[in-house]
């Protein structure tokens, strides 16, 4: 330690050592510099923040078709739910209120029912009971839940106008402010 201390105190030796370390650091920074488009974020589909939201086409409860990729230019909240899941039931009214307040500003809510592990009549009854007016895509085969690596219900993905996931909320119920702050973020035009 005496020798280390000697190096530390001696201005010339320490300057030399520090200079070498810092020069090597700068060289490394330069060598590992990348062009601006070299991060994968936002281009590869994956169900996580910063990535392109995996696309899907599903039939909805009222019989029409919805495709996520067709909704570019709008902010999309993808919420995976089941009628038997208490936190899903708890947050749905707040989603409906947010939908009423934000749809004029370009918000779409896709409340994907995990039909493969739910019953269609129960899901329909739930939607009627809460007067939900946003589309309810039906994941009958479980393929969308699979693609979104669904591990807990509800799971919510906030997708911006360019189709990039900005926030993932696993579990619930989400508070009103959590939902609305997430929506405000995806509706901002610029990133």
């Amino acid at each position: 330690m005496e020798r280390v201390n000697g190096w530390l105190i001696d201005r010339r030796r320490w300057s030399l050592l520090s200079g070498l370390i810092l020069a090597a650091s700068l060289g490394w920074i330069w060598a590992s510099a990348v062009p601006a488009d070299a991060t994968t974020a936002g281009r590869i589909p994956s169900p996580r923040e910063g990535f392109l939201a995996p696309d899907f086409s599903l039939e909805t409860l009222d019989g029409s078709m919805v495709t996520l990729a067709d909704l570019r230019g709008q902010g999309v909240v993808v919420n995976l739910w089941a009628s038997w899941c208490p936190p899903c039931r708890a947050e749905m009214p707040a989603l409906q209120r947010a939908w009423e307040d934000y749809q004029d500003r370009g918000l779409v809510i896709l409340a994907v029912n995990t039909t493969f592990q739910d019953s269609l009549p129960a899901a329909a009854a739930f939607v009627a009971e809460h007067n939900l007016t946003f589309p309810i895509p039906l994941d009958r085969s479980g393929s969308v839940s699979n693609r979104y690596l669904l591990r807990a219900l509800p799971s919510t993905y906030f997708v911006d106008r360019e189709g990039v996931i900005r926030q993932v909320v696993v579990g619930g119920p989400m508070s009103e402010a959590t939902i609305r702050a997430g929506i405000e973020e995806i509706l901002q035009d610029t990133r």
């Binding site: 530390l8 650091s25 590869i44 989400m174 402010a177």
Partner: protein
């Protein structure tokens, strides 16, 4: 990559649990470290506790300020238990200020206190690496190397493992150095320098870097500035210690 641990009906967010374990193990070291530097363990524990509380409050308030109108309409949601609605920078700033104010009021000497807390910081750095392994955050760039891992649609550098291994090595170095410390602040500043160098090194393999100034990785530049400051401070403290006597 195991973001959620299923225990019966409970879905536990595993990365959060690992961070909590890191804080717990880290703080449990304080009582052992404090006497080495002739500090009160209780005082240091209070400081850390206060900083943690201030950090959480600051993080939530910082997030609420970003979405002021939303929280104005739903003020009770400030209390919601959701890690998504936290602003990390605001939290760190609040924790830092709280620790500084508390330390100053209690007359805690800065450098010995930081030295005493260094093993805790180093343990927390390992926990952060493990949390990244569990969540798949802080992921690497695409590569064909034989030890690449399949993650987020590509074969990538296992940066989370690099990070954890380096953090473990740095903890070992910090524990070794603290038995031979020549002056106050040496252990902490060496840990800062090593951690900054590690970040600077590993950021090159990351696939999620923030890019600035036409192609440079922001975290590397931050690491460079921190490394340079730590090297300079080491020199200044060493000189001050010789001027004021061998134990100064």
């Amino acid at each position: 990559m195991l973001p959620i641990l299923q225990v019966g009906p409970l879905a536990i967010q595993f990365p959060g649990l690992l961070l909590l374990a890191g804080v717990w193990i880290g703080t449990s070291l304080i009582d052992r470290e404090a006497p080495r530097y002739k500090l009160s363990g209780a005082l240091l524990n209070n400081l850390v506790f206060l900083a943690l509380v201030a950090g959480i409050l600051g993080a939530r308030l910082g997030y609420a300020l970003r979405f002021f109108d939303v929280y104005l309409g739903n003020p009770l949601d400030l209390l919601s238990i959701n890690p998504n609605t936290l602003d990390v920078q605001a939290g760190l700033a609040a924790a830092f200020i709280a620790a500084l104010v508390y330390g100053a009021r209690k007359g805690l000497p800065l450098w010995p206190a930081l030295d005493a807390l260094t093993p805790s910081f180093a343990v927390l750095a390992i926990a952060i690496g493990l949390a990244h392994i569990a969540s798949g955050d802080a992921f690497g760039r695409a590569t064909d190397l034989p030890w690449a891992i399949e993650l987020w649609g590509e074969r990538r550098h296992p940066t989370q493992f690099y990070e954890t291994l380096l953090a473990a090595g740095i903890l070992a170095a910090a524990l070794w150095l603290r038995r031979r410390t020549p002056f106050s602040g040496f252990v902490f500043l060496t840990w800062v320098a090593l951690s900054a160098a590690a970040r600077l090194l590993l950021e090159a393999f990351r696939g999620d870097s923030v890019i600035i100034l036409g192609g440079l990785r922001q975290a590397q530049l931050a690491g460079f500035l921190i490394l340079a400051s730590a090297l300079l401070m080491l020199h200044l403290l060493a000189r001050r210690a010789t001027v004021s006597g061998p134990n100064g």
